[in-house]
Symmetry: C2
Subunit: 148 residues, 2 copies
Amino acid sequence: MSDHPVVDRFVGYLREHNLPVTAQRLAIAETLLTSHRHLSAEEVAQEVTAAGRKVGTATVYRTIDTLLESGLVVERDFGEGFRRFEPARDIPHHEHLICTQCGKVEEFRDERLERMTTIVAESRGFARQRHRLVIHGVCKDCQTGVSR
Amino acid sequence: MSDHPVVDRFVGYLREHNLPVTAQRLAIAETLLTSHRHLSAEEVAQEVTAAGRKVGTATVYRTIDTLLESGLVVERDFGEGFRRFEPARDIPHHEHLICTQCGKVEEFRDERLERMTTIVAESRGFARQRHRLVIHGVCKDCQTGVSR
DNA sequence: ATAAATGCAAAGGGTTTGCAAAGGC
DNA sequence: GCCTTTGCAAACCCTTTGCATTTAT
């Protein structure tokens, strides 16, 4: 029992799979599952360290793999040369808006867009499985010249 | 003057920028600009070598950079861990459909989809610059069980 | 006690860079 | 001949792996 239900779900996953519940796994899971940002592996390590609970790089990657397998975390590739991770919320699917100035990532969901991808795929003989949309632009703050 | 007008355009670009027209650059440009596939840097090198005109990896990358700067080639990131390149055709923008079975990549263009990304971005205060959509699914051939 | 996880460092893939040698102009 | 390009290898970045040590169960 932790402060966060999501972390408890991860503990449940570990137990079900006879995987030891270690301090490192908890620290990493808590950091990643309670974050509202899209963290890179390195950022996860930094945040865990900042919270006073040091972990090795390999452990971060290995635990992220486990979190991905558990389905509690999903990975994103914004073409930066490395992956980012975020908690898998109940949102079935969402798109991303990325600010080309400050790097901020916003999420949104659009039913019409969703439907349109299915229609387009089918019109070309494809049985649609999933899709991924990223829109790049300048966010409101950066447009109005707010200092980050 | 080569067999391919696009290659000639690249030669023109090199001349305009006082960049030497080398055999390697021609070989790489011809391979990439006349390809109908999305080639990786490694594949470009392989194809050039297969054509009996060997080039070094560094040269491939540097020439691709030049081709990107010339605007004759665009880069794509399909999340494979490396980039792919394709000739920039006259299509202003196009989306990609990827078959999850055979890996085939199809391109398409859809005005409505395009407009929708602008509307969505603006509704969240973003000044849209560009976007990228990839739809994953199973192509017709793979659905009907055609042996690759 | 036992089997697994950790941490470190080394290896691994894709890409870039530094520098001497080669080659357009 | 000058100056850029080439090619090789080393350097880089993110990620994975090997192995001795620590740890959960």
